[in-house]
């Protein structure tokens, strides 16, 4: 996959014959076994393996569910119930898949925020980061399509509200809307195409994950102190050191996962989704799943016209909030990678994280709810949206001019061997 080509020659003659024609074993050995990895990675770095595991869980459970699911508007709801009631182990497979989506997003948010803190998006890892943003976008699309499939009230109205976002785009908005829905309203054709796409996208995600790992293996891992690997002394082979550490992390991650899947499978969902979709009845309070709430809050916060119509502005803010991540490697001008050595950055970073949680909370509330004094969710969420964007377009580009970073260790081995420099959060 990269500079660290292995000269692997299997001892077994059959394998040697294969290896001469298709060097797949050497490839696997160099990427999964010998791959030199910084020895100071903390547990935040295990979420990459956790995410790979979750993608596998979702694909396997999803394929089994698809064997029993009926993507037809009048049958979909009952077919999901039939899976829970009559398929052997169906209640558990369905619960693992639906709570798995939440666990997947929980892990991806940790993974993204780890990258944001330790500057993992900086040169030479820009393409690695961009591929990650693409995976995140694909995950959001997949989760959205999947949420529509049980065809409950929230499924239906989420499909209606989210597809409607595209109608705000001038000129091409309406054709896109009709293409997505397969008609003028959300109906059976919508369900059919969403099912098809929900089955397709995970495999595209898997392909981009392959590229993501490829792009990781060229420069190698970033690490908590953000100082590049200087010698072999700074690294350990991926196997067994990180395979076993990641394995341990995956098992620990499975404990809360199992807790939700077995004991509270519906606690992360909405009761209204146990009412079959009904185009004639709008639920009193349409809320997306928790992992979309921050972006939903950004969409909703723009309720004023400014040159453009508020609806289009909201869509621009909504799209921009994710697309801006593509430009992050060039927006952050600091030479120092790790937030550990950036005293001012840390404050802005943690404020950004808290702000993101606040947006998540705003997204779940009605806009006219009072938050502080006379100010409603609609008011205060504008502040949060402003900070979200300021962080990327003002703070990160300018901060490095004023900030004096703490001295960096000479190498990975130095802080580990010597005393100072806390290398982790």
């Amino acid at each position: 996959m990269s500079a660290h080509e292995s000269k692997y020659t299997p001892a077994n003659p059959v394998l040697r014959w294969v290896e001469d024609r298709l060097p797949i074993l050497g490839f696997a050995k160099s990427t999964l076994v010998d791959y030199p990895t910084p020895k100071n990675l903390n547990y935040w770095w295990t979420f990459g393996a956790i995410l790979a595991f979750m993608l596998g869980v979702q694909i396997v459970t999803g394929i089994v569910l698809a064997m029993h699911y009926t993507p037809e508007a009048s049958l979909a709801f009952d077919s999901v119930e039939a899976i829970k009631r009559d398929v052997v182990g169906g209640r558990i497979i369905q619960a693992v898949h639906s709570t798995g989506a939440s666990m997947f997003f929980f892990a991806v948010y940790i993974h993204i925020f780890r990258g944001l803190y330790f500057g993992s998006y900086k040169a030479p890892r820009e393409i690695l980061w961009i591929l990650g943003v693409i995976i995140f976008l694909l995950m959001m699309a997949t989760a959205f399509f999947g949420y529509v499939l049980p065809w409950g009230q929230m499924s239906f109205w989420a499909a209606a509200v989210i597809t409607n976002i595209f109608a705000a785009i001038p000129i091409i908005g309406d054709p896109i809307l009709q293409l997505l829905r397969g008609g003028f309203a959300v109906d059976n054709p919508t369900l059919n195409r969403f099912f098809s796409l929900h089955y397709l996208l995970p495999f595209i995600i898997a392909a981009v994950v392959f590229l993501h790992i490829w792009a990781l293996h060229v420069p190698g891992n970033n690490n908590p102190i953000g100082v590049e690997v200087k010698s072999e002394r700074d690294t350990v082979p991926f196997h067994p050191y990180y395979t076993m550490k990641d394995f341990f992390a995956v098992v620990v991650f499975c404990i809360p996962f199992a807790w939700f899947a077995f004991f509270a499978p519906d606690i992360l969902g909405h009761p209204d989704n146990y009412i079959q979709a009904n185009p004639l009845v709008t639920p009193p309070h349409i809320v997306p799943e928790w992992y979309f709430l921050p972006f939903y809050a950004i969409l909703r916060a723009i309720d004023f016209n400014f040159i453009l119509d508020s609806k289009l502005l909201g869509v621009i803010a909504f799209g921009g909030s994710i697309l801006i991540l593509f430009f992050l490697p060039w927006l952050d001008t600091a030479k120092v990678r790790s937030g550990t050595f950036r005293p001012a950055f840390k404050w802005f970073y943690w404020l950004f994280a808290v702000n993101f949680l606040l947006l998540m909370w705003y997204g779940a509330q009605t806009p006219d709810m009072k938050v502080v004094g006379p100010f409603t969710v609609a008011d205060v969420s504008k502040l949060s949206v402003a900070y979200y964007f300021l962080y990327f377009i003002v703070i990160l580009p300018l901060l490095s001019r004023f900030e004096k970073p703490r001295p960096l260790p000479n190498s990975i081995s130095e802080p580990v061997l010597g005393k100072p420099a806390q290398a982790t959060t």
């Binding site: 119930e81 341990f248 009412i275 061997l417």
Partner: protein, 287 residues
């Protein structure tokens, strides 16, 4: 260096300040949480209660409400009311179901059949119920809930609170009053007036419900349980029993899923401990 705990504490305080300022309309009450045998991770259904609840469902609810996902055979399954197969066969035979493959289009139900709906179509149901549509009861207990503001829902993740549905149904059945209480207002503050043909219910959203009070004290004659215990014949008892039964209808494999969950968790905890030791031993030499 900022500790993560500080960040989370700040976030929690921030959320706490913003916590529930819900507009409460006068005369409307929130459903209160009840004790259920199936609550929490150790909870299981009470078989006697499910049998009583089934009796309430069958004698009262089922005359207007359908439960199209409930099959007769389910009533004999473990972790449910667990009637004997003979009892279920006998019960099914008392009902007629449509079957286009037999002469006359009707035949006696078999255990494999689903619970017959009282009305053929939604239109028929509305015609017979003053325009209101009695919702299907198959997953009703999971389609209803009571709302927990912050920080209640955080604790719910640890207590695995999933009984909002039965809590709501139980509260609703006990929230009827014949007269509209004084001072009741609509959500916009205007005085509340009960529409013609509706009933006042303090828990139902909008307070006016199409369903007449379905239960009254002494209405249903329960047989004594196998061990001779009896329960009071009150609306309170009936409503608890039928709420528990509806929870089972909505989540028939609850007991089973939980017992599988214990095995999985025990395995994961043990496995995690072993993997931790493996990891520690492996990394001991690296520094």
């Amino acid at each position: 260096m900022i500790k993560i705990t500080t960040i989370f504490a700040a976030a929690l305080i921030g959320l706490g300040l913003a916590a529930p300022v819900t507009a409460q309309e006068a005369g409307h009450t929130e459903a209160a949480k009840q004790h259920w045998s199936f609550a929490g991770i150790f909870g299981t259904y009470d078989q006697n209660q499910l049998q009583r609840g089934f009796q309430v469902f069958r004698e009262v609810c089922a005359s207007c409400h359908s439960a199209r996902l409930l099959a007769f055979r389910n009533l004999a399954e473990e972790g449910g009311p667990a009637f004997s197969e003979g009892q279920v066969k006998e019960l099914a035979a008392q009902y007629e179901v449509s079957d286009v493959t037999v002469a006359g289009g009707k035949r006696k139900a078999l255990p494999a059949d689903h619970w017959p709906s009282p009305f053929a179509t939604e239109l028929d149901a509305r015609d017979a119920n003053g325009g209101a549509f009695p919702p299907d009861m198959s997953v009703l207990a999971k389609a209803r809930s009571i709302e927990d503001g912050f920080p209640g829902w955080v604790f719910n993740y640890f207590t695995t609170y999933a009984e909002g549905g039965p809590d709501y149904i139980h509260a609703l059945l006990n929230a009827y009053s014949e007269e509209v209480p004084a001072g009741v207002t609509n959500s916009d503050g205007t005085p509340f007036t009960l529409p013609e043909g509706k009933y006042f219910n303090a828990v139902f959203p909008s307070n006016s419900i199409g369903m007449p009070p379905p239960l009254s004290d002494g209405q249903i004659e329960y047989a004594a349980a196998a061990d001779g215990t009896t329960v009071p014949l009150t609306v309170e008892q009936y409503s608890k029993d039928v709420s528990a039964f509806l929870m089972w209808v909505a989540e028939p494999h609850l007991d089973n899923t939980k017992s599988a969950g214990f095995k999985v968790l025990a395995f994961l905890l043990l496995f995690a401990a072993l993997m931790y030791l493996v990891k520690q031993r492996l990394w001991r030499k690296v520094h």
